[in-house]
């Protein structure tokens, strides 16, 4: 069960007072999610561990300045993404080819309730997803797989909610085209 907004706010208030227990709860709550997202970006478990750890440490070191009106998740994701950028710059390469959806692959897709998917459809969707830009992939995966709200995405990407909606829609539109193209065996540039 995820923390409710109220619980989260209480934890942050306690953490701001120096309550290490509250900080630990926050850490454990988001550990998996941030690590998973970091792995999606880096595709390297060691790098993912490093940037996620740096993100957590940065977050806690500045917790006294954190505004309790904001949710924790998008901020943690932003910090983690900045850490990734910073690391890539040092290594003189860029964030490319994040395979976000692989991290969320169904355990056994044919057993889903409505039987909407078969293996072929999943692989088609993944293939099409990989043809999207990095930001488009990231936005779709956070929205659909990590249950980010529009407001969360607005904070994560630092854009207004209206723009989040339009970007989400454009990404889906593009994904639909790519899926069609993949079905025909062609390729959309």
């Amino acid at each position: 069960m995820r923390l409710t907004r109220k619980e989260e706010k209480e934890l942050v208030l306690r953490a701001k007072q120096g309550d290490s227990e509250a900080m630990t709860v926050i850490y454990k709550e988001f550990e998996q999610e941030i690590l998973r997202a970091a792995f999606g970006i880096t595709k390297n478990p060691d790098d993912a561990q490093d940037i996620a750890a740096e993100a957590f440490m940065t977050f806690f070191q500045t917790i006294d300045r954190f505004n309790t009106d904001y949710p924790i998740r998008p901020w943690l994701h932003r910090i983690m993404h900045n850490q990734a950028n910073s690391m890539f710059r040092k290594k003189n390469r860029m964030i490319t080819g994040g395979d976000y959806f692989d991290n969320y692959a169904s355990e056994n897709s044919s057993q889903t309730d409505e039987n909407l998917f078969d293996e072929e459809e999943i692989s088609l969707l993944k293939k099409a997803m990989n043809m999207l830009s990095e930001d488009e992939k990231k936005m779709l995966s956070l929205f659909y797989m990590e249950d980010f709200t529009i407001a969360d995405l607005a904070i994560t990407f630092c854009i207004p909610e209206g723009t989040v909606k339009s970007r989400l829609f454009n990404s889906r539109k593009k994904l639909a085209k790519k899926v069609q193209s993949c079905k025909k065996g062609g390729h959309v540039a």
């Binding site: 701001k16 607005a154 339009s166």
Partner: protein
């Protein structure tokens, strides 16, 4: 709006809701909408399916580090809280003592530094500033084609940060860097201190000190900056409007961006201004109802991807037109032309920029149209005053220059020759020749920060790109590729087998791929021990005369003089003057590139070494070069002599020059005006047009002084004596009197 658009709008605003009936009905007939809905449902279902049980946990060592960080942070916060409580308790106990210390505290508040050169007052103020800077600002938007949001700052940052550490600080802290950078830019624009200095203060949150250093009024600057931030920040609940528009021009000096949607310009802050390019379409978000200007608070990808075209109208009909070089008929509705017909609003040969979309019937329909000034090819040389991400501004020239790739290599004070298309309000640069060699470090940052697409080498073309059929602007042709280090230089001198360059280099003729002349500006690629000339050209030479001061000698022996009048520099190869006086006169034939003059032929002298004589020309010995004077001397005029007036036989000349045996070499020759004395009775005169007609039929032009002195006295029938000279075939009065002997100097003047 057709039904598909409505569906799109609904899907956009309700990404996760059940589809209403009207959409479901539409989906039965529309495959494209169906595809979008289908993929959305797939994603939705996929997200709800059971996930792989992949467990992500930290390694024990990292887990320990994070927990350790938690405990350390917790301890720090607790200690700080305890300290505050203790202080409060002590204050209560020692109330009397504290009261007596109040006066002392007040004095300390303003004057005594308590920490890091801060007084309590400045600490408080800096804290307030920090709050303002760290305020969750309205989102700033990455430019659509950059790879990572943090790189957006890179081009902006590098102009302000000298050290790597400073840059790294900004890269890793881009959470609040927008407002901080705006502070740096805001203060920098209002003062003479370099951006890097302001940045250093801002980096340490010493905003108060930065304002003090810039010698700006504190409260006024505070208020102005707060208002500046407010103008470009969208706070929760504030109304805004978003729309797609194509940029028609950007004015870097005012921040005004002209688009094809609004007749009035939009205004951008320093960061957004960095990102926009002419002829590119963006989705703008502006603040509404909160400001008289349309201030941009966000920049994003356009929702619609129309094609854009520009060119001359070759034929025009009631509701359609053809453009030069585009064979399809372009339909234009009256709505686009504010209710007017195309044939009445537009004319053949108008140069237009349009956005158009292709309908399902393959018709091209114009969605927006703007009439532009037809661009013309032009070449300009000047000094770079301010550099932006996609362009720059030249000194003393109110025009913005756009060069989407090459401007990255420029810095303030670089002298450049630009070739490109002049659009009247702005200039699209196609080629930049920098007269200061590029630095290697700049190249490195350029590469590190730029989209690889921009870095693809392009070939040099001389044909200006006039039409594009995509939403991207015409790319700037260039002949520099970032992966090939090239340098620019100017040939200042040639001696024996060696070339002497402006950069101080000496290069053997054998090392160059082709022969060069003095004054040529070159761009070359150095490979091992040879120099491949990639481009060379020379501006036209001209004869100039400056007062100069000797500045210094380059390592290769080239002398540099400085003109105090306009700040330009004159490069002279071996001026061979042993004792260089502080102030001298330079007379020479030069090739100029902005404020740099390369001397081809010259003489440098001081007036104290010249002889001054006045004589009458009696004979022309050689056409326009040798003259016999009435004092027996011969006057020699050469290419560098400054001649004021037209030398003719019988004319009196004042000569400043030097004797060479019996020949006087004229450095400055002034032909004296020929003065006549004319007498006559005024027949007519006109005060407005300033002339006088005498009874002899002569018309004399008056100047302001003579008109002023003659007010109320000039009248028909008065006899006057006029001292006149001839200019452009007209008699010009320099003095007017009613008595002959009063000219010059004595008697009553009118």
């Amino acid at each position: 709006m057709n039904i598909c658009k409505k569906v799109e709008k609904w899907l956009q605003n309700h990404p996760q809701e059940m589809l209403p009936e009207w959409i479901q009905e539409h989906l039965e007939t529309c495959s494209s909408c169906q595809q979008i809905v289908e993929v959305s449902s797939q994603l939705q279902a996929f997200s709800q399916a059971p996930k792989k049980a992949i467990q992500y946990t930290f390694k024990p060592a990292l887990d320990w580090r994070i927990r350790n960080s938690i405990y350390t942070t917790a301890d720090t916060i607790k200690n700080s809280n305890k300290h505050q409580k203790k202080a409060t308790s002590r204050f209560q106990k020692g109330f009397v003592a504290a009261f007596s210390a109040v006066c002392l505290l007040i004095a300390m508040f303003f004057t005594i530094p308590v920490a890091n050169q801060n007084t309590t007052f400045s600490l408080l103020l800096n804290e307030k500033f920090k709050e303002m800077i760290q305020m969750p600002s309205s989102p700033f938007f990455e430019e659509v084609d950059t790879l990572a949001s943090v790189d957006d700052h890179l081009q902006f940052v590098r102009y302000y940060c000298e050290t790597k550490e400073e840059r790294e600080f900004l890269y890793s802290n881009n959470e609040d860097s927008r407002n901080r950078l705006l502070f740096v830019k805001f203060i920098g624009m209002q003062s003479d201190i370099p951006y890097v200095q302001i940045y250093q203060y801002a980096q340490k949150d010493l905003y108060f000190q930065a304002i003090q250093k810039a010698k700006l009024p504190l409260w006024k600057t505070w208020n102005e900056f707060a208002s500046y931030l407010d103008q470009f920040t969208l706070l929760p609940g504030q109304p805004f409007e978003s729309f797609d528009a194509t940029v028609l021009s950007v004015d870097y000096t005012t921040g005004a961006i002209q688009t094809d949607v609004f007749p009035k310009p939009l205004f951008a802050d320093y960061i957004i201004m960095q990102q926009v390019k002419p002829f590119k379409t963006y989705r703008f978000t502006i603040k509404t109802k909160s400001s008289k200007n349309n201030n941009i608070v966000a920049l994003d990808l356009p929702l619609e991807n129309d094609s854009s075209l520009q060119g001359k109208i070759v034929s025009i009909h009631k509701n359609s037109m053809y453009l030069d070089g585009f064979s399809e008929e372009l339909f234009v509705s009256e709505k686009v032309l504010d209710g007017e017909k195309a044939s009445s609003r537009l004319q053949k040969n108008d140069y237009v920029f349009i956005r158009a979309t292709q309908t399902t019937q393959n018709q091209w329909v114009i969605t927006s149209l703007s009439v532009l000034q037809e661009p013309s090819p032009r070449k300009i040389t000047g000094t770079v005053a301010e550099v932006y991400r996609n362009g720059f501004v030249l000194d003393k020239l109110e025009m913005s220059f756009f060069s989407f790739s090459l401007s990255q290599k420029l810095s303030q004070r670089d002298i450049v020759t630009l070739e490109g298309m002049d659009y009247g309000t702005f200039f699209m640069v196609e080629d930049v020749i920098s007269h200061i060699p590029f630095q290697e470090e700049k190249e490195e940052y350029y590469l590190a920060s730029h989209n690889h697409k921009d870095d693809e080498p392009e070939s040099l073309t001389t044909t200006p790109p006039k039409k594009t059929t995509s939403s991207t602007p015409p790319s700037s042709p260039r002949n520099i590729t970032p992966d090939v280090p090239t340098e620019s230089d100017i040939v200042v001198g040639i001696q024996e087998d060696q070339y002497y360059f402006l950069s101080g280099k000496v290069v053997s003729k054998d090392q160059l791929s082709q022969p060069l002349s003095v004054g040529e500006s070159i761009r070359y690629k150095k490979e091992q021990n040879s120099f491949t000339i990639q481009r060379h050209f020379m501006n036209q030479s001209q004869v100039v005369q400056f007062t100069v001061e000797y500045l210094e000698k380059l390592p290769n022996g080239v002398d540099i003089y400085h003109s105090p009048q306009d700040g330009s520099r004159i490069y002279v190869f071996r001026s061979s003057i042993e004792e260089k006086e502080n102030v001298s006169m330079f007379q020479g034939k030069v090739v100029s590139y902005g404020g740099i003059h390369i001397a081809l032929q010259w003489r440098i002298f001081s007036f104290s070494t010249l002889v001054d004589i006045q004589a009458v020309i009696t004979k022309e010995i050689e056409h326009q070069s040798l003259y016999q004077l009435d004092n027996g001397c011969v006057l020699k005029i050469d290419d560098l002599t400054e001649v004021q007036g037209t030398i003719q036989i019988g004319k009196t000349v004042k000569i400043s020059g030097q004797y060479d045996q019996n020949v006087l070499k004229g450095y400055i020759v002034r032909v004296e005006k020929e003065i006549f004395l004319l007498q006559g009775e005024i027949v007519d005169w006109n005060e407005e047009e300033k002339w006088l007609l005498l009874d002899t039929g002569v018309v004399i032009q008056l100047n302001e002084a003579t008109i002023f002195h003659g007010q109320g006295v000039f009248k028909e029938g008065t006899v006057v004596y006029c001292k006149v000279y001839v200019k452009d075939g007209q008699y010009i009065a320099s003095d007017v009197s009613w008595e002959e002997n009063s000219i010059p100097g004595t008697g009553d003047r009118i």
